[in-house]
Symmetry: D2
Subunit: 388 residues, 4 copies
Amino acid sequence: MAGREAAKNVLRAQRIELPSWAFGNSGTRFKVFAQQGVPRDPFEKVADAAQVHAFTGVAPTVALHIPWDEVEDYGALGRAAADAGITLGTVNANVFQDDDYKLGSVTNPDPAVRRKALDHLFACIDVMDRTGSRDLKLWFSDGTNYPGQDDIRARQDRLAEALEAVYARLSADQRLILEYKLFEPAFYTTDVPDWGTSYAHCLRLGERAQVCVDTGHHAPGTNIEFIVAFLLREGKLGAFDFNSRFYADDDLIVGAADPFQLFRILFEVKQAGGLAADSGIAFMLDQCHNIEPKIPGQIRSVMNVQEATAKALLVDTEALSAAQAAGDVLGANGVLMDAFNTDVRPLLAELREEMGLDPDPMAAYARSGYAERIVADRVGGNQAGWGA
Amino acid sequence: MAGREAAKNVLRAQRIELPSWAFGNSGTRFKVFAQQGVPRDPFEKVADAAQVHAFTGVAPTVALHIPWDEVEDYGALGRAAADAGITLGTVNANVFQDDDYKLGSVTNPDPAVRRKALDHLFACIDVMDRTGSRDLKLWFSDGTNYPGQDDIRARQDRLAEALEAVYARLSADQRLILEYKLFEPAFYTTDVPDWGTSYAHCLRLGERAQVCVDTGHHAPGTNIEFIVAFLLREGKLGAFDFNSRFYADDDLIVGAADPFQLFRILFEVKQAGGLAADSGIAFMLDQCHNIEPKIPGQIRSVMNVQEATAKALLVDTEALSAAQAAGDVLGANGVLMDAFNTDVRPLLAELREEMGLDPDPMAAYARSGYAERIVADRVGGNQAGWGA
Amino acid sequence: MAGREAAKNVLRAQRIELPSWAFGNSGTRFKVFAQQGVPRDPFEKVADAAQVHAFTGVAPTVALHIPWDEVEDYGALGRAAADAGITLGTVNANVFQDDDYKLGSVTNPDPAVRRKALDHLFACIDVMDRTGSRDLKLWFSDGTNYPGQDDIRARQDRLAEALEAVYARLSADQRLILEYKLFEPAFYTTDVPDWGTSYAHCLRLGERAQVCVDTGHHAPGTNIEFIVAFLLREGKLGAFDFNSRFYADDDLIVGAADPFQLFRILFEVKQAGGLAADSGIAFMLDQCHNIEPKIPGQIRSVMNVQEATAKALLVDTEALSAAQAAGDVLGANGVLMDAFNTDVRPLLAELREEMGLDPDPMAAYARSGYAERIVADRVGGNQAGWGA
Amino acid sequence: MAGREAAKNVLRAQRIELPSWAFGNSGTRFKVFAQQGVPRDPFEKVADAAQVHAFTGVAPTVALHIPWDEVEDYGALGRAAADAGITLGTVNANVFQDDDYKLGSVTNPDPAVRRKALDHLFACIDVMDRTGSRDLKLWFSDGTNYPGQDDIRARQDRLAEALEAVYARLSADQRLILEYKLFEPAFYTTDVPDWGTSYAHCLRLGERAQVCVDTGHHAPGTNIEFIVAFLLREGKLGAFDFNSRFYADDDLIVGAADPFQLFRILFEVKQAGGLAADSGIAFMLDQCHNIEPKIPGQIRSVMNVQEATAKALLVDTEALSAAQAAGDVLGANGVLMDAFNTDVRPLLAELREEMGLDPDPMAAYARSGYAERIVADRVGGNQAGWGA
């Protein structure tokens, strides 16, 4: 078992980014269930995100989704965040919710629509300039629903052209993060369906183009930790979108469906030095709390990442390497499982107390009265949600 | 090759039911793209459905979704249908779009919500009494998102109780059709996830409880024609919801993703006598035309079912049985493929001409001017869609 | 957290059956890697199985595979088992390794082959009569590779006929356990592909026909604990074949791929009273240790089942029910996760010491010298393996 | 519909490579069913392959598997092939059937095993030098079965080292073709699991390193034609291994499971110029005829590829492009489907007659008496199979 203190030092410095949209209403195509107290604007989303940080101490940034989080004055939004103890993070570009995008955004067969989409991506960079964000996260819903609907290769050409234009517009300390997704909302082809496609485009673009691994965006049976290890070896893993899935892109709480997988992923990150503060990897949540309350859902998610990280840190890598080198299959597996089977909750409770936090963030938040306050205060107005 | 004339006789008598909701707007959780000319009420949906029948001749009924298709006067709706040359068909109960149903409808842990859901199911039977519908189709979105969220077995008890109450309420010439679905919108458990669950409940209920096979509701790799053959052998296949999928429940045009699979399914139906007019199997479309126009999408779907049926009818079953009995793997497979590889479009064109229809329904509809008419006429009001 | 002592009492009485074939060589179609010291006959397999029981204390029976484990004198085999501290258990019928079975066994289109297969099943019952085994486990490799190859429904008829004949031959205290499997070795249809098919046949046969759930035999995304809960509710879960999988039927060590899933399965078993000594559920391992040593592989497997069971027993079901009834999604999930996140290894070590065993079975076996002994002793002869 | 004559010209020049191992016995881990008349050495395999070419006219090369097809005198084997009307093609390296490779070949933790594997790869190049083969096809069974068993990243380092050494050894007109596979025989990680991994390695190696797409080696839901289109755009598609699958790597006859998918793949190939004689793409079959006779199985496979190619060639690409540019979803899909729904068997029969062949290769082979001859002649000796 590796050192508890060393583990705590890494855990203390860990940073998990929250998505602003996790605090708004979300749902499936069948129904979005509204929840009481949900934010009505980006300022209220920031306030809620700050609560998650207040109780966990490791979630000091909140990612924006543009245009969902468009405001007149980003300086004011940044100050509101700072006042609440957090900062604004990654900018996520949304080019999928305008009627023009029915057949795609940057890969649309219509050049006018492509131009419109590109202009929006440029506008996102303008937001970054104002918020001081490092990362532009690009996820495209682009794709087709029917064989023959469009030319697969021509769409790649259009995609490459748009990515080059965006990359050229970024400043030297900004990055382009390209996300991939197997399917949904497109049901036949997706223009960036897998890590290989994202990787190939990023390679062409240059060093500041990096791949984002959303843990819910793979085909059944895909070994995600292999992809993580491979991208880290290539220096091309820029970000995670954490969530969990049983079937498709379920966007459930990270670690809820397969905590062992989350542990294996974080172990590969750790092995490659990805937990170092300067690793350049953005660890973000990307979830939908369709039926559970939003803020506790995010707190629980942060805790799940912490627990998996703690276990990854406790792996006795010396014993592991020795068993691996010896071809001792059961022994090597046993070393890994020893760490996974360890109950790390006491260690994390201890860490929180050292950080001046309550050892039980869920209970502390529940006791805080914040939930009741927002239900009482946020009456009237339009609740934020996917699409607003 | 089996007889063309015999095939045409079956094809002439074939009946495919249309879903009223296919004519309204639909989409994914990311975006519903509005289309011009979409119906604004059930009467306009019925009018659109009648167009599909007018050009194909084999789609004379339209299924309703309650409450989406609630009207004050079902007599009037039925007369409107009759005037347009069709009739009202299956009633689909919707107990998933009220805020109360966040944790389930008939399996909700809260007895008050269960009671409300059951009352709605009873109300659907009242609608059936007025429309003269034979079938009550039940699909429940009920399930859970997280392990532990609710008691799997207790939910089965609640489900059984509700089904019994509904079954008891049906008249002797009405049927309960229970649909299953692997997942979505629930992401951990679904209360009726597979055919086995539906089958077991129907068996308990009695003869007029039957299983509905939605071709998009299975796990990857599931052999759907096996299920179809098995249920037919048990006398428990009540209905199809036809559509196609590449990934999850994509609800694409039937036959668009895997026309060979559709052929295999219809071949099993045919072998078991399921194409006979009195087979009791309801062949329905259940699709979402998210990006393509609705009426042509439905026409194309009907044609795809017809083509797969025609191929199934052309299988030389005598040669097939002989090869099967002889253990001639390649020979038996070859007999099946011969039928699949046959171009049946000329045969269907001929049939349509014999029926007094245009041999090319897609072109005939396009020429008819109906599309332009509804775009011009249906201005203002709220377009129908999932949820309305 | 439920009582530790109560948990220990259940764990002390737990019984896990070992498969004789896990001790022989196994592999994939690409290669079977031979291991030193592997048994050369059923007596040596029994001796190895006894080692697993000696170090774990909860694996006192070994299942046989006929004809792999055919011996002249089953009395002698039983006595050898008894001398080693274990007994003979379930009889598994093998009707898939004779050239005659190329197109199936009991569902073969050739009646002579069907007769031969049935005779073998009868012979298996004769073995049961001699060994005193309660359960006849039937897994059929029967199926087809190509569409059209055989008649899906006719094969069901043949299957039903064979099952009836076998069931009729069983004595009143013997059971028929019907296993299902999605695919492999058949690649298009499998004659018993899913739990529904097995369930429907068992229902027809009678009370002593029960379903076997092999945890590796499902389509991707299948919720196994739902099936377990459902079959338990119906009184039709007869046995488990435990193993784990990442992709297909990988037959890896149970709990190695997804320990959380194993825990969820055992929690459903426990909730339904399935851990009671008289539940009638046979908990069996069915694994292939292709690259790891066999005996430690089995010990580890037994321990994994014990750990998952211990966690299932520690779930605070009162708190769980309260949270479920209140619709507290995160709370209910949290109760379940609390148990899963608990490190139960100390509890199991304690239990072993109370049972007079070494608290660390893996280390104790390694120290015992048995592995070295069999390598030295078992030289010459033919190693047992799949097919022998 | 594009021109029939133009299509015939492409079809006349099409070349499909046969795998020598398709003529030997094969099976699953459960059983290899022996067939009468199966070859006993590489010369007999070559003779059988020549039969497939004799009746189809488009399969003039046979790929070798080393060491399965090792002979003393490759000149003699080449002459035997030439006498039979064909030539020797791709060399497939086999580093998975020696006991030393239990934990991997070129990625084995043991440097001595890695050295042995590399030496075998060099020996394969020696064979290529003697046979005049252009392509060295590398598929590695390397991977792990259990989390922690070995270091994912270290294995990539070892893989890269081996690939570099092999690539350096190739002559300027030889190519390295790197195949990927999701899983099997390794069940947790595979060292080259997907096209992205193969692509990244090939990119590093250089121009003569190319990716092989085996149509059976993907996760469920993977869009293979997207990968094909993408690799063609990157100039990195070197070869196909054609076969078909319903579940895992079933290695069934190409086009047997999803003929529409095969058509879509070949359409992408055609669109990118991949059907041109100088495209550099090797179109190979890689199948196992476990239950059907081998030679007719191969003939049927060749015909299936021809039929899919013919349909791909008949797509009216002008109409398709117009519909795509207009955003006409149904129209564009309709153009593609028109070609797929066309019965191309008459066109291929016509082509065969023009080539001096029987229009019905299956029937002509059956009449030829070859099957009866080899059954009579090939008595005694050891039948070839996987592993020999």
